[in-house]
Symmetry: C2
Subunit: 437 residues, 2 copies
C-alpha cells in the first residue's frame, strides 16, 4: 500500500517535512509518496528536490484530487487554509495540520465535517512544536480527570522575557534581539500580544476537558507592559516573569482560560523554562503533575511532529480500521467527562474580574509622608489584604512603591487600584501583574 500525500505549502516546515520523508526512516514511512506540493511560486529555488511536475500553484486541485490520500496543510492563517481543509475532508482525505489559528477558531466545524466524512484530522504540530502534548492529552493522560493545563507555549515571548531577565534590557531592546535572531517577526503582534498563546491554550483546553472553547472569549494580555524594573523587583522577591497560558476547571460547566504575564516563584516547574523553549504542565486526578518541555517551534521539531502524525495515521490505516480513532476527535464529538458536557453549548469562561490571584502592583507617587498609608487604606477599603508594601527607589522626589497582595478577588483589586489612581500623591500605576504559585 502506498499513501499519496499532498502538501499545502513548502516553506520552512514543509521543507523540513520533505527532508524527513526523503531520508531512510521508519518502515511505515517508506509507504509515503509525496504526490503533489502546492506552492505560491513554481520558480522559487528550493532546498529540497521535488519533481517539477509535482509542484503546483493550484491548491484546490490537490485537495480534490482522487489520487491523494492525505493532505498536510502547512500554510498557516485562517483562509484559504480553512476552506482547503474542509474541501479535503469533504473529498474523503485524511488531514494533518500545524495550523493553530484555524483549529482554535474553526476546530468544531472542521472536526464535525471530519466525523461525517469518517476521516482523521491530526494536529500535534499546532501546539508546542516538537513536544508531544496533544496525543498524550488524547490518550495516556485522559484516564485522569484533567484539572489544569498551564503552558509556556509561545517561544518568542519566552525568549524576550528571558532576555530581559538575563540582560536587564527593556522590552524594545529584547524584541530587537529576538527579531535579529529570527525568533520574532517584523510585525510581532500575534506573539507579543498573546494571541498565538491564546490559540494554543484554546486547543489544549478543548482536548484536556473534552469541551469546545470559544477562542474569542479568552482574556488575553501581552507582555508589552513589562519593564526591566518590574523584572528586577520580581527577582528580588524570588519571582520570574512568564507569559502563561492557563486553562483550569472551575466547576461543572465553567472554565477558567486566560493568557497573561505571570510572576511565578523561581522554584516553580515552569520558571526555569528559558529562551525559545516551550513547556506544558498538566495537572490531573489521580495523575498529579506532569511537565512536558522542549523546542516549541523551528523547522526540525515542527516537521518531526507533522511526520509523527503521518506515522500515527498510516499505522491506524494499516490496521484495517473503518473509522477514525475515537480519541482523535475534537469536542463535542468526544465530550469528557459526560457530567460536564450536558449541553452542546460552549461552556462559559470565567471573566478575569471573578478570578482570585495575588497581585504585584507598582505605584509611582510623591515621596511624602503618608503616601504608603493612603495606598494601604485604599486596598483595605476593598478587602484587599496585603503581604507587603515597600518603598523602592526614589528619584526627583518621586518614589516607587511596590505592593504584593495576598490572594484576593481580581475585581476588588482593580477597584482599589482605580481608587489609588485618584490619590493626589499618585503619579501613575505602571504595573499590575498576577502572581501564581
Amino acid at each position: 500500500m502506498v499513501y499519496r500525500v499532498g502538501l499545502l505549502g513548502l516553506g520552512t516546515v514543509g521543507t523540513g517535512v520533505v527532508q524527513i520523508l526523503q531520508r531512510p526512516g521508519h518502515p511505515l514511512l517508506q509507504t509515503v509518496d509525496i504526490a503533489a506540493v502546492g506552492v505560491r511560486s513554481l520558480d522559487k529555488p528550493r532546498e529540497v528536490h521535488i519533481p517539477p511536475e509535482r509542484l503546483t500553484t493550484d491548491l484546490e486541485r490537490i485537495v480534490s484530487d482522487p489520487e491523494i490520500d492525505v493532505v498536510i496543510e502547512l500554510m498557516g492563517g485562517i483562509e484559504p487554509a480553512r476552506s482547503l481543509i474542509l474541501k479535503a475532508v469533504d473529498h474523503g482525505k485524511q488531514v494533518i495540520t500545524a495550523n493553530k489559528a484555524v483549529i482554535a477558531r474553526h476546530g468544531a466545524e472542521i472536526f464535525q465535517a471530519a466525523a461525517q466524512a469518517k476521516v482523521s484530522v491530526l494536529l500535534e504540530a499546532a501546539v508546542a512544536g516538537g513536544i508531544p502534548i496533544l496525543q498524550p492529552l488524547q490518550h495516556s493522560l485522559r484516564a485522569s480527570r484533567i484539572e489544569a493545563v498551564w503552558g509556556i507555549v509561545n517561544g518568542t515571548t519566552n525568549f524576550i522575557l528571558s532576555q530581559m531577565t538575563q540582560e536587564g534590557s527593556s522590552f524594545e531592546e529584547a524584541l530587537a534581539v529576538a527579531q535579529a535572531r529570527g525568533y520574532a517577526e517584523a510585525d510581532p503582534g500575534a506573539d507579543v500580544e498573546g494571541w498565538d498563546a491564546a490559540d494554543k491554550i484554546a486547543i489544549l483546553a478543548s482536548l484536556a476537558f473534552g469541551l469546545p472553547v470559544a477562542r474569542d472569549q479568552i482574556p488575553c494580555e501581552g507582555i508589552r507592559g513589562i519593564s526591566a524594573t518590574d523584572i528586577r523587583y520580581a527577582r528580588e522577591w524570588g519571582f520570574t516573569f512568564k507569559l502563561l497560558a492557563i486553562a483550569q476547571k472551575a466547576g461543572p460547566s465553567r472554565l477558567d482560560i486566560r493568557v497573561h504575564p505571570t510572576l511565578l516563584p523561581s522554584t516553580h516547574a515552569l520558571a526555569g523554562v528559558s529562551g525559545v523553549e516551550n513547556a506544558v504542565l498538566v495537572q490531573g486526578d489521580p495523575l498529579g503533575q506532569v511537565v512536558l518541555s522542549g523546542p516549541g517551534a523551528g523547522q526540525g521539531p515542527t516537521a518531526s511532529a507533522v511526520v509523527g502524525d503521518l506515522l500515527s495515521l498510516i499505522a491506524h490505516l494499516q490496521t484495517g480500521a473503518q473509522v477514525p480513532n475515537p480519541l482523535w476527535g475534537f469536542p463535542p464529538a468526544s465530550a469528557f467527562p459526560p457530567a460536564d458536557a450536558e449541553s452542546a453549548e460552549l461552556p462559559a469562561l470565567i471573566p478575569l474580574a471573578e478570578l482570585e490571584a495575588e497581585f504585584y502592583v507598582r505605584v509611582l507617587a510623591q515621596d511624602r509622608p503618608g503616601v504608603i498609608g493612603a495606598i494601604g487604606t485604599c486596598f483595605g477599603n476593598h478587602q484587599v489584604s496585603l503581604e507587603s508594601i515597600t518603598q523602592k527607589e526614589c528619584h526627583r522626589e518621586q518614589a516607587e512603591i511596590v505592593i504584593l497582595t495576598h490572594t484576593v478577588r481580581e475585581a476588588d483589586c482593580q477597584q482599589a487600584i482605580a481608587e489609588i489612581r485618584q490619590l493626589p500623591q499618585v503619579a501613575g500605576i505602571p504595573a499590575v501583574f498576577r502572581v501564581l504559585r
Copy 2:
C-alpha cells in the same frame, strides 16, 4: 459493546485502577466491566468494592476465561507474571501490564507471541509511572531518529540523592528516611543497585531505537558508594549527583546503554528533578531535546497510566481494526530504522571500558609533599588529561585529593586509578564517578 477486564493483582496499583474505573470518566471507559480480579487472599479487607463472586485466587482461570477480553497484569516480578501473560496472549486476550521486569527480560518472547495472536500488549505504566513516555516514543517522536534517551527513572534513588544533597546526610540516613516514608522497600536492592532503572532503560532503548536489547548485558552501578563528602565537593564545582539511565546510538549496530551515578552540571535539564520525581530526556534528529517529567511511581499516577492504556486499547478496538496498531509492537517486529536492523541478532552493547567521559576521582593520601605530583604522573602515564587536581580537607595527616579529568577513555582512567592505588602514599580511592554534560 462491553469490554470484560480481568485484573491480575489488587494491590496498590490494582486498587487505583478499580477506583478510576468505578467513577464517572471518559465515555469509552463506561464500556468496561471488571469481570474478574485475581488475588492471593479472598478475605483481605479491600479499599474498593468488588462483588465477592468476581474475586478469585485462580489466576490461570482468568487468563483462559473465554469471557475475558482484556487482562491487566499488576502482579510484578518475573513468574508467574510471564507465564500468565503468555497464556492470556495465547487465549487471544489483549494485555496491559505495568511490569517492567518481565518486559525487560521477556519482552521479545511476549511480543512475538502477541504478534502471532494478533493482540496488543501495552505497558505505559511500566516506565516512569504517570509520565507519558512510551506512547510518545512509539508515535509522535518516532518520525525523528532518536539519538539518545537519558532518564531519571527510579524515584527511590532520586529521593535518596536529593535527601543527601539537601540535608547533607549519609546514604544510610537518607535510605532510612526513604523507607520511613514508604519510598524504599525493606530490601532496597532492586532500587539502590540500579536494577530497576536498568529494566526501564532496556524498554526505553528498545522502543527508541527499534532494536531488541539484552537486559543482562547492561552495565549497572548503584548509588551505595556515594558519600555525603562527594555530594558536597560536587556541589562546590556546580554538579549534582543523579542516578542516570542512559541509552545512546553508537554507530550502525552498536548501542551504549548503562546505568550509573553521574555528576551533572546543576544547570542541566535533568539536574533539577528532585525527590521521587522521574524525568526522561529524548534527543532526536531533527527533533532536538524534549524532557518529560512527573510522578514516576505511586498509586494514582501508575493507575492513571494503566487506564490510559485501556482507553487507547478500547479506542483501537472500536475502529474495527483487524490487527494491533503496528506502532505498538516491540522490536524486532517493528525494527527501526531498517538500516540498523539488518540482522535479528541483539545489537552489541559497548562495554564501559570503551566509553569516554570526564571523571571525578577522590583519593585519600598522606599529607606529604609530592603526592599530587605522583598522582598527576600516574594519570599522565595513561593519557588521562586533567582539568583540576585539588587538595581538600586534611585530618590526622591524611589529605583528601579530588581530581576532575577532561574527557578520556574509561579504560585509560581505570588503569591510571589502579596505578595510583599502588602508590605508597595513597591510602584509598573511595570515589570514582562519571561526569556528563
